[in-house]
Symmetry: C2
Subunit: 100 residues, 2 copies
């Protein structure tokens, strides 16, 4: 796991970094837009990647999107990523077959 994806920050710092309120951050978690980890005691732990996601979410919310839509946009983005990788693999395989 990279430094960007390691869950190490408490919600207070994330709030400072993103400018979002604690309430907003907790709500976006409830709506499955982010997935912080938890300490034994139950304290949320976020990564820098989560902070980046939250900043994108903040923009989308300002643009008037619903959390539901933002969730779908995230999913779509991931799916496209999958497709892109699959297609790339296909291209590589085709190129390889051509060569022998």
């Amino acid at each position: 796991m990279s430094i960007r994806t390691k869950k190490v920050m408490t919600i207070g710092i994330v709030s400072e970094l993103t400018g979002l309120s604690l309430r907003q951050i907790r709500y976006y978690e409830e709506r499955k837009l982010i997935s912080p980890e938890r300490s034994k005691g139950g304290t949320r732990k976020f990564s820098f990647e989560d902070v980046e996601k939250l900043m994108e979410i903040a923009e989308k919310m300002e643009d008037g999107y619903l959390t539901f839509d933002i969730r779908n946009m995230e999913k779509a983005k991931q799916t496209n990523e999958q497709i892109r990788k699959t297609m790339l693999r296909g291209q590589l395989n085709a190129a390889f077959r051509t060569r022998r």
Copy 2:
């Protein structure tokens, strides 16, 4: 400021990441081996760079060094870095003068 140098972690997480006790981390701060920031309330905030430093410190302590010596080794390292940069600048200047 990069992601590596941003002070975002509480001492509990740093303890988990380094394997050091809270007491040890606080003591190494007292001895000026690390310099965490503070929240308004006084809570320490560490960076990933601090975590790296602490792991080096842990090694040195196991090797039997005193915090005092480790502090000096850090200083020496920084001084060498300065010298290296100064000399590099000198080389570049010399090369530049040669060319005209």
